[in-house]
Symmetry: C2
Subunit: 336 residues, 2 copies
């Protein structure tokens, strides 16, 4: 079966392609009877306008891009579901790009999004991004960009985050109130404002309670292997640690693993709290006390701001940080 | 800064847009010196050809669609990562559509992919899809489709799956060899060939060992709430069950939950094995014995077949089921 396009409709009706095209656009230059014949055949043959032809005409692709470090991750996959709930309702298509924490990939993706493939971008920075020229050039090309979670504060746009400082401060205090005296902080790259704020919340709570903040308690490695090595060294050392605050979900799994290997009982000898969006936290051994980011809501908020800007309302994008509060769920891993 | 397009290049150089366009296509009608001036300015202004204009010319969008039930799911998010590893290497863009198990959404998405937005589709069916006309009409529009996991056997194309029957048969036998006499099977919709084959593997192993197959042991509900209710009724009943084979990851969490509520000890009173791709299986209480589908490899295989067909090699898409074997990882939840 040949593709149903303007040419095919024109042939079957014995009229010119431009008459078909103008009929479908409801042009006043075409008689009602011709328009009706064209519409009837278009419906009968299930004619679909070529999406990119229509994109060229209207300068609107009805497509957005989501640029994230990865998708096999409970936080990012839930944010994506939130974004999708809004794009679906607005009949937008969504391209997804995974940076795998590579600045070079991020730059390359953004570069290819500048000329009309998408109407807007929602993104969370790679952990190695320190230069933001690629984002500025995207904005210069009139493609709006909205940040979530891993944001760039210097760029004028909406940035949806969690209350990272406050929730980290509260999480650290929860460990302190459960009796911890030497709390380790596990995180990844400290280039990101997100991880910096979580570390700052931890530091503020420790300082306030006069807890030691020694270099070996602050573990911020780029790979899981290095984190595991450093945590093993810390927990095997003379002073060790009696609490762990993991700023990233996967680092809580490393803490379970190392504790098991070293035969350290959670929560009796070591208490643990972590930023995590896994549904299984309740079934861990012991169950994991979590700081849960409102991932779905973050995605929904980012997409709503973008859709309100692109669609009929044409609302401006606010230049502000929009925090949505995280929730701490206490379970056995922090029991006194 | 105005967008850098053909018109802008033409204005700056004082030549016609069509001369610019032909220069960029390296037409023999244009002099080398003009072509060089155009190329130099295009490079200097970082000119990017409009992706859809180029798509119209070549009838290639360099874009594929991935249509899946959801993405906040360890199996589908890992398959997506496998797909992305191949599309990235081939410079393809990826649109993603979530059906949320709705047949109507699936039909609507496929309908909008028929006229040029994508060059091919990789999909896993919604659990309510029983009619396949939408897939046939996609193929009729010359858009190739590749299935994975939740496949339609009647449609001519490549279908990447796990060895569902064999791995389910082996998983059930593992429970039997650990001493189970009454094994429950938890699954979702039985419309899908995937879930049917997993059930059949379970039934074959039970029959072979003369274990009872009573209706209350076969729980196949559409919602988690209903599954929880039925499992609670079964485990509270006189004969109960001493083993559970969960065909879907989330149903293993329900089993942990119900056992906790009813104070049934895993593995002493109830053994549990499940299809699962979670990284945390090792940290569950007790750790979970899993049947691990090679999710990343499934995605990679599906995308490789599609890319080999769309790109230079133009290889035909094999009309066959391509199973990639799952691996059983024994942990504490099935210990004798």
């Amino acid at each position: 079966m040949s593709k149903v396009d303007i040419r095919r409709l024109a042939e079957e009706l014995g009229i010119s392609p431009s008459t078909v095209s103008r009929s479908l656009r409801d042009s006043h230059e075409i008689s009602e009877s011709t328009k009706n014949r064209v519409r009837a055949l278009a419906a009968a043959l299930d004619y679909q306008p070529h999406p990119y032809a229509s994109g060229l005409r209207k300068h609107k692709s009805k497509t957005i891009a989501v640029v994230v470090p990865e998708v096999a991750n409970n936080f990012f996959s839930r944010v994506f579901s939130g974004i999708e709930s809004i794009t679906l309702a607005n009949n937008y298509h969504v391209l997804i790009y995974l940076t795998h924490e590579s600045y070079e990939k991020e730059v390359s993706f953004i570069h290819h999004l500048k000329n009309g493939r998408v109407d807007g971008v929602i993104m969370s920075l790679s952990s190695h991004t320190k230069n933001f020229d690629h984002i500025l050039s995207l904005q210069a090309a009139d493609i709006p960009v909205i940040f979530f979670d891993r944001i760039c504060e210097e760029i004028d746009t909406a940035k949806i985050t969690t209350n990272d400082f406050e929730s980290s401060y509260a999480a650290t205090n929860l460990l302190i109130h459960s009796g911890c005296k030497r709390i380790a902080h596990l995180t990844t790259s400290l280039h990101l404002t997100t991880t910096q704020k979580r570390r700052d919340g931890y530091l503020a709570a420790c300082r306030e309670s006069n807890l030691p903040i020694e270099p070996e308690l602050l573990i911020h490695e780029n790979t899981e292997e290095e984190t595991e090595k450093k945590l093993t060294a810390l927990l095997s050392s003379e002073h060790g640690a009696d609490g762990v605050f993991a700023a990233v979900e996967k680092l809580s799994l490393i803490t379970y693993k190392v504790s098991k290997v070293l035969n350290i009982a959670i929560p009796d000898q070591l208490k643990l709290i972590a930023f995590a969006n896994t549904e299984s936290a309740n079934y861990f051994s012991p169950s994991l006390t979590t700081i849960v980011q409102p991932a779905f809501e973050i995605g929904r908020e980012a997409a709503s701001i973008l859709m309100n800007h692109l669609e009929k309302k044409r609302l401006p994008i606010p230049n502000s940080i929009i925090p949505i509060a995280a929730t701490i769920i206490e379970r056995d891993s922090t029991k006194s």
